[in-house]
Each structure stands twice: as C-alpha cells, then as structure tokens.
Amino acid sequence: MERRLFVKYLGITAAGTAVGVGVTPLLTEEQQTLLRPPGAIDEKKFLGACIKCGLCVQICPVDCIKLADIDKGLAYQTPYIDPRTNACDFSCKGIQCVLVCPTYALVHELAPNAESVRMGIAKVIPDRCLAVQGKKLKTKSKHKWDEWKYKWKVNPAEYMKMICNLCADKCPIGPGAITIQDRKDPKTGREYQIPVVLQGCTGCGVCEMVCPVDPPAIIIIPGKKWGEKNA
C-alpha cells in the first residue's frame, strides 16, 4: 500500500512538473518589455534570480521602481521602471538598488557607477519631436507638475525655450549620451535640430519623463544596447 501511494505521488510530481515546465514559456515574454533597474542581469536569468522581495523598491530615493502586475506572467512582482511617470536619475550615486539586492539579480559589476549602467537605449521618434518641427516649448507638458515626485525643484523658466532641448538638457549623463544636432532635409532643404542618442546612453529614461509631448517623442527600449538593431 505504501509503495502504491509512493508511485502515485511520484506520478503526480512528474505530471505537475511537466505541466509547470510546459506552462512557463506561456507565462514569460519573449521580448523584454519591462525596463529593469540598473545592473539587472539578462532577462531570462533575472526571473530565476529575483525573489520578489521588493528591497530595491523600498531603498530607491526617487521612488521610480515599481512591482509588475500579474499580466506579466512569471514576472509578477518583479521590479521595473516606468520612465514616463518616474525615471531613474542616478541621484543616489552608489546605485542603492544594486547594493541592496540580496540575490544578485542586480549585480554590482554591471553597475559600478552611473555611466556604465545599460538598462536599455533611448529611441527618438522624429515625427513627434518638437525640435524637429522647430517649435517653441512654452506650454506645460501634459504632466501635472505637482504630481511629479521628482527631486529637482522645477523652475518654470527652465522650460521656456526657443527650441525644445529638454531631453539633452536634463540627461543625467550629459553630452556623451544625447546631443542636439543640426540636420538638413535633403528634399526640402529645411534646416532643423534633432536629438541624437549616442553610445553613452544608459537607458535611465529621464528624457522620456521630461519629454513635453504626449505620447513622448523619445522612448526607452528595454534591454537593447547601442548599435543593436531595434525590432
């Protein structure tokens, strides 16, 4: 009897494991859609290393890290950054979320300082960009200013520009990551300015956060590195 029970339980274990292994690909996304905090290891390994404790969420001084909901499958309650609402600006210097991670889902070697972080890459969408259209930045963005939980004290004068260059202006890395360059349209001959993302881009998402048009003219593609082709 004991033996029969043992065999039965062994069968249940095998069947359950098979179901779990079969279901796992359905519950994980093929393409990384969540922007992980600084120093995150490869997305597939990340789901094995993150124990969903939320220590990174609690330590972050600018409250930019959030926990994913169940629509992300097995990535449920793993940390991500929504750069449009609140972006990582490396103002904590030591990169606290990396230091606090107990299981090295965020590794210090990948993020020893702000410049060497590679969370993703910014991508400019020229059709939406105010600088490409040569427009002034005078109106408030669609953000409610007081809803910004950002640590900068917002000075409205900073946002009154002849030609919008907020993304380059507010980038925590500086000219190594994004610059405004002059271009000339070969067909019409119109001269315009456009933000260009350079090799130094960390994918922190401050540019996406401050972009005054809605939907934003510059977005972060998570997990991509500079020079890789965007899907």
Binding site: G20, V21, Q58, Y76
Partner: protein, 306 residues
C-alpha cells in the same frame, strides 16, 4: 441564600460560551478562566509583523524592509527558506547575503520550532483561521455538511514539484502563486488582482477541504515543518493530566498528530511526549482548549544538551 448565589455564579462562569467573540481571545475552558489565549497573542503577532513590514516602508523607517520572501531587519538580511531553495534551484549560484539570510532564519526557527512561522508570522494563516470560523458558522446553519480529508503526505509532491520546475526552466515559478507573499505584499506595496486567487483558495477551504493550502500544498510550510522535526520548541503532551475529553482533537488542524503523541506518551516512563510531525504549526489551539493543562510548550533535547 447568599451561598446559593455564589455557587450559581461560579457555575455560570464555568459554562463554556462557545462561539462568542469574547472566547476568540480569552480562555474560558481553563481551570482558571479569563486568561488571554494563545490565539489572541498569535493573531496579534501576525498583525504586528505585517504592520511592521508595511509601516517601516510607509514611514521610511528602514527597520524591517522587504517582504516575507526576503527582508532586511535593521540592515541584516533574512531570506525565507523555501524561497532560498527555489533561488538556488533556478539560479544555480549562491550569494553571501542570501546564505547569511538563509542560515539566520534556519537557526532562528531551529530554536523556536519550525512551523512557528506558519502559526505566528504567516498572514495567510490568519485568513485561514477566520475561514475556519466562517466554516463553523455555515455548518451550524446547515449550509455545509462535512469536508473531505486527504493524505497529508501529498505536500511532498508539491515541495519537490516546485523545486523541479525552476531547476529545469531556470525561472522561479511558485512565487507568483504563493498566497502568503501575495497577502504580505498587498499590505506593503499595492494590492493586486492575485488576491482573488487567495480568495479562491479560502472558499475551497471553507467548503471542501479543511486548511487545504496549509496541510496539503504550501511548500513554504513544508520546509519549516521539516526543520520542525528537529527543532527545540514543541508542544508537550502529558498523559497523566489528560482526561481524554477530545477537545484538542476538534481544534487541531491535523488530529493524527495528537494521536501519535498519545501513543508515544504511553511508551515513555513519565507518560509525556512531544507532538512531532511536519503538520504541527505550533498554533497552540490545543493548549488553549485543554482545561487540565495536559498540553504546554516545552523545549526538546534540553536534558540531553544540559
């Protein structure tokens, strides 16, 4: 006349007030009634720990950061045992902080009894106990008749299963469906839709199987239960004081534990035995309901060590 009224007064006191709100927190069946019950202390402990997690984040105290999966108590790492095992299975590597956290929890629950976690910390336990009260109420009304019992050994299949899945696929599977952490994180961060899953388990427990999750599935509890088989603090049963009234059988989530203790006690010289076994969550309900103090908390192996 005066004597008579005194006698009736004491008789009234000894009458068990079953099912009253008062009896949830105060012992009435003891020889000396009116004491705060273990259940009251336990529920307070569960609420206190959950509140400490939630408030230390809300008020930025950094006293107890994180959640039940992994936390920092005054900057000292703590890792839940089964989560640690899942992490090793999935990640196939170790970190110093995780090892320190794992060993600290292991050592702590070695002293205070393995599944003390379930009874005194786990927020789902509180939910399940309220579910039991709802079940009692519905049973009195005649809505539910009797629930099924299964073999408790099925828990090991889930324990192995949820370790094998991360070992093969490399991503932690079970933590997305763990009601313990879903409730815990709902209080610390924002509540999610997965609370409906917890509700589903609770409804299943109330109507079909008693303490289904805790007894048959929960691998977190199983891990602490395995530790509990060698841990120090357990419930001690004294056959000399026992009147075989059967009150403890009614409240115990796994009555076979008490039958085993009774059998063990008959074999020993001093007629006492410890409640062994993986299922005992040290909830002390048996101590609460025993009118003759035949059950109490005690440390094992102390006579051998000292």
């Amino acid at each position: 006349m005066h004597e008579n009224s005194a006698v009736t007064g004491t008789q009234k006191k000894e009458k068990p007030k079953r099912g009253t709100f008062y009896e949830l927190f105060i012992n009435t069946r003891k020889i000396r009634p009116g004491r705060i019950s273990y259940r009251c202390i336990r529920w307070f402990s569960i609420i206190l720990i959950t509140a400490t997690f939630a408030l230390s984040f809300k008020w930025a105290l950094d006293f107890l950061a994180g959640s039940l999966n992994g936390s920092r108590l005054m900057s000292f790492f703590l890792i839940d045992l089964y989560t640690g095992l899942e992490y090793v299975a999935a990640h196939k590597a170790l970190t110093l902080n995780a090892v320190i956290g794992f060993l600290t929890i292991l050592l702590f629950y070695f002293f205070v009894g393995g599944r003390t976690f379930c009874g005194w910390v786990c927020p789902y336990n509180l939910v399940a106990e309220i579910g039991e009260i709802i079940h009692e109420y519905l049973r009195k009304k005649g809505v539910i008749k009797k629930r099924r019992m299964y073999s408790e050994k099925i828990r090991y299949t889930f324990w192995v299963m949820f370790l094998l899945i991360p070992l093969i696929t490399g991503s932690i599977f079970f933590e997305s469906f763990n009601p313990v952490d879903i409730i815990n994180r709902a209080f610390i961060y924002t509540p999610t839709v997965m609370l409906l899953w917890v509700l589903l388990i609770l409804v299943f427990e109330v109507f079909y199987a008693r303490r289904f999750w805790c007894k048959y599935v929960c691998p977190t509890g199983t891990t602490y239960g395995m530790l509990g088989t060698v841990s120090l603090l357990r419930v001690r049963f004294d056959l000399n004081k026992c009147t075989h009234c059967g009150n403890c059988y009614k409240v115990c989530i796994e009555p076979t534990l008490l039958t085993d203790a009774l059998k063990d006690a008959k074999k020993t010289k001093d007629n006492t035995a410890f409640v062994k076994g993986v299922s005992c969550i040290n909830c002390a309900r048996c101590i609460d309901v025993c009118a003759y103090d035949a059950l109490k908390f005690d440390f094992r192996f102390l006579d051998k060590i000292l």
